[in-house]
């Protein structure tokens, strides 16, 4: 239904070979502007590896990742971020030696600049830029509801809020595409509902979402499209309804894991 939308991210035959272990095997799928796409699959299916390949954290063995037609392979993570891709991590990687606000301020790094002399002597240019960084970071914190916690140490937050902080930090880099790696894991029911609302509101503000998630009901209710991986191989790509009815998916994945869970 979204086939006419602009192609934002396009993977073709993406492969990652960890010295003989095929973590991602020739995976191809597109992400179109304005979509919420979920990547699901049992543990070890290669979901996080795909995130690492897209964001330049790991080099791909072969294949290509194009963002707005531009090849991302060979670029370094900060260059990929500068193009408009931001991500969170499966096991939350905050800067523990900084406050909540400072964590988000780091996200403004590439979007602001002031000279060496201004930095050294805190000249007006530096003060002005710092004020803008601070204000923008506060706005991103407000977006995820963490504004009141701005001055706290980032690791003193409860786990659910740490996940939200990581999202705020990613948002501060002004992404067009946001990759959320298991943003819902470790959250309770109410927190998950809030997360779902947040993700929808982000999409509403023009950010495309690619999501790795374990919670199948959560994914099915939220996503426009679901991509299913098993052992590094793409086995299904379609709407939640299509995927749920796919016999391969049921056999390989839904049958054993979710059947037991739900």
């Amino acid at each position: 239904m979204n086939a006419d939308r602009e192609l934002l991210l396009d993977m073709t035959d993406l492969r990652k070979d960890f010295e003989g272990l095929m973590a991602v095997f020739d995976v191809s799928f597109p992400v179109r502007r304005g979509e919420i796409v979920s990547l699901i699959g049992p543990n070890g299916a290669g979901k996080t590896t795909i995130f690492n390949l897209i964001t330049g954290v790991l080099p791909a063995t072969s294949g290509s990742v194009r963002y707005r037609g531009r090849e991302l392979r060979g670029l370094r993570p900060h260059q990929i971020n500068a193009l408009g891709l931001a991500r969170t991590f499966q096991n939350v990687r905050l800067f523990g030696n900084m406050t909540v606000l400072e964590n988000v301020m780091v996200g403004r790094h590439a979007r602001t600049r002031y000279g060496a002399l201004s930095t050294a002597f805190r000249l007006p240019a530096a003060r002005r830029a710092e004020r803008e960084i601070r204000e923008r970071a506060m706005r991103e914190l407000a977006r995820v509801g963490l504004e009141p916690k701005a001055g706290e140490g980032s690791l003193s937050l409860p786990f659910g809020q740490q996940r939200l902080l990581e999202i705020a930090r990613a948002l501060a880099t002004e992404p067009s595409l946001l990759l959320l790696d298991e943003a819902g894991s470790g959250l309770n029911g109410a927190e998950k509902d809030d997360l779902g609302r947040l993700i929808r509101s982000l999409r509403g503000s023009g950010i495309t979402i690619l999501l790795v998630e374990h919670d199948i009901p959560f994914v099915m209710g939220l996503s426009d499209r679901v991509v299913v991986l098993e052992h590094g191989v793409l086995i299904a790509d379609g709407t939640p309804a299509q995927v749920q009815g796919d016999p391969r998916v049921i056999a390989a994945y839904l049958g054993e894991e979710v059947g037991g869970k739900c």
Binding site: H78, M98, M105, A120, R122
Partner: protein
């Protein structure tokens, strides 16, 4: 809006500067005929205080590099040497060989040489930093160690320029117009003025965009990179800043000693600098002056008191005690004497006013 509060670091810096300048003023004013060294029972002299000031500048830079960016340098004495030699060479040879007559003997020439030294050392750090900072942990330590050795060895070569193993002498004292920054009582204010300025700059850097990037790299390089931080660039910037600070200190050293030679810039000095940074504490720029002072004071105390405690021949026992004290400091104050001292103060205050409790977070 909350009421505007003056940041703790600003208060700290003002108090610190006042105390340091007041100590220096003792020797200028000589109240009741007292000298600075009388205040310390002749353990710490003004000469020592100047040396502490000079090394504080180096260690502030090292603190940024190690404590904030998380990159070790075992070759910092090399950058220190580059500054010292830049000042020594430019302010003696040019005048001696009549290069640029009328300019190379002007009062501002050595100051220009100092700036040139900082520029050259910064450029050098930039060029070697790119390849070196790709290394991590032990490999980085080894590479910087090698770098320090190379600079040290080179400084003993080319005797016509560097003076070889004997080094260079008769480096002129610094002047501002006709005002000579000498004797020592005057030079003290230049050194500590520079040290206070360097601390100010370091504090500004820590609370800037680049400072946040460095702290981010320290805790999570991958996370920092995916947040848009060019991690290689930020690390090179930290190295360049620390190298320029070391170079400034080197220049101040050259004009203080009036002589330079390869000896004081060797591997031992690099290790001492790292020790000072660690003893002072790597979690704050404020670790630098107290780390340097602690090592100097312990060293001087042992030197002057040891014979009375243990009247044995040979200096070996001094080193043993010195080492033992360092080990004890690192065991009992692992975050350094500065943070350790602050914690102890806070605990003492809390004990006195038990109701004050945990309200200051």
């Amino acid at each position: 809006m909350q009421t505007r509060r003056i940041p703790a670091n600003t208060v700290g810096l003002v108090v610190f500067a006042l105390v340091v300048f007041a100590l220096g003023a003792v020797d200028l004013v000589r109240p009741f005929g007292l000298r600075f060294s009388d205040l310390t029972g002749r353990v710490v002299t003004l000469d020592t205080m100047i040396r502490i000031g000079i090394l504080t500048i180096v260690v502030v830079g090292l603190n940024l590099l190690m404590g904030y960016a998380g990159q070790i340098s075992l070759g910092q004495a090399g950058f220190y040497a580059l500054g010292a030699y830049a000042s020594a060479i430019l302010s003696t040879l040019a005048a001696r060989h009549g290069i640029l007559p009328g300019i190379s003997d002007a009062w501002w020439w050595p100051w220009l040489a100092m700036l040139a030294g900082m520029g050259l050392t910064g450029l050098f750090a930039y060029l070697v930093g790119r390849p070196i900072l790709r290394l991590k942990g032990n490999y980085l330590a080894m590479a910087t160690l090698g770098l320090g050795f190379i600079i040290n060895i080179f400084s003993a070569e080319f005797p016509s320029i560097t003076g070889g193993n004997d080094g260079l002498t008769e480096i002129p004292r610094l002047r501002i117009g006709e005002f000579l920054l000498w004797p020592m009582q005057r030079y003290y204010f230049l050194v500590w003025g520079a040290a206070v300025l360097v601390i100010l700059v370091a504090l500004n850097i820590v609370n800037s965009r680049i400072g946040r990037a460095l702290r981010a790299i320290h805790t999570g390089e991958t996370a920092a990179a995916t947040c848009g931080v060019d991690t290689e660039r930020a690390k090179v910037q930290a190295l360049v800043i620390s190298a320029m600070m070391a170079s400034l200190a080197g220049s101040l050293y050259a004009h203080f000693q009036s002589a330079v030679s390869p000896n004081p810039f060797g591997f031992t000095t690099s290790v001492e600098l790292v020790t000072m940074a660690a003893v002072g504490g790597l979690s704050s720029v404020w670790g630098a002056p107290f780390g340097v002072a602690t090592l100097y004071v312990i060293g001087d105390l042992i030197k002057s008191r040891m014979e009375k405690i243990l009247p044995l021949q040979g200096g070996g026992y001094e080193l043993i005690l010195y080492g033992l004290l360092l080990v004890l400091i690192m065991i009992f104050l692992p975050s350094g004497v500065t943070a350790g001292g602050m914690d102890a103060l806070r605990r003492l205050r809390r004990r006195r006013r038990p109701d004050a409790g945990e309200q200051t977070a």
